[in-house]
Symmetry: C2
Subunit: 143 residues, 2 copies
């Protein structure tokens, strides 16, 4: 009773279009089975789709993701050369992720900065209001 999914079910679940899913298939990232012409997606297919989307959020191109999939698929039967290449690539990906972590940390600092500046500007505005400095107020408190 292995659960399956239709293309629109997956599209709804992940909030993407069926066009995208078919496009990923054309790009060699998915290969669902068929009942007649209709695509039937297994749980494994669903996992792959999830990985594709996560890759996208991490800035991977579809080609890169495909490369990873292909490597992964050939890992168990790979030669020693292949396996060592795979390990190198894994290390490269790790390095990329480390870079992203650093970037995120810096970005967060800048957001802190921006937020502080924003709040300062806000309180300054409120101060002006309270001291009767308003220019464009509709209802000045005294006049």
């Amino acid at each position: 009773m292995t659960k399956t999914y239709t293309i629109s079910e997956l599209a709804n679940e992940f909030d993407i279009t069926v066009r995208s899913i078919r496009f990923y298939e054309d790009s060699g990232l998915l290969s669902p089975s068929r009942r007649g012409q209709t695509r039937i997606y297994s749980r494994k297919d669903r996992v792959r789709l999830k990985l594709i989307l996560r890759g996208k959020r991490l800035g991977f191109s579809l080609a890169e993701t495909k490369e990873l999939f292909d490597l992964w698929d050939n890992t168990s039967q790979g030669s020693e050369q292949q396996l060592k290449l795979m390990l190198e690539i894994i290390e490269q990906k790790r390095e990329g992720l480390r870079q992203q972590l650093s970037d995120i940390a810096m970005a967060n600092l800048e957001l802190d900065n921006a937020e502080a500046r924003c709040r300062d500007a806000l309180t300054e505005l409120v101060d002006k209001k309270q001291s009767g400095w308003e220019k464009t107020e509709k209802e000045p408190s005294s006049r």
Copy 2:
């Protein structure tokens, strides 16, 4: 004696092309001063460029980055409405970064997984070799 940079200096430093830098200017993300026709980049321009590139690594489109720049530039003179909008957007960006952190964590787990599988396959290969199971070896130890 405020330090300045030429376009090719920046291109070299950040390992991008001058074409890209000019493109960012066309997109409204940079506006270096000029000496005659020649572009002169200040330290501030350099910082902006750095931010653009970091944004790219985090998957921001140039349009998004421009939006952030524009908001930032208008922050000090912004209305209360504007400032509150800015705070909202900042929070959205934070949420995006949190999502990315989660994605990176998951990706790292999968890399661990892949690496383990790889190493297993490798040691298995070595074991076969040692027990004389090789098929494609050039110099079998006995024959």
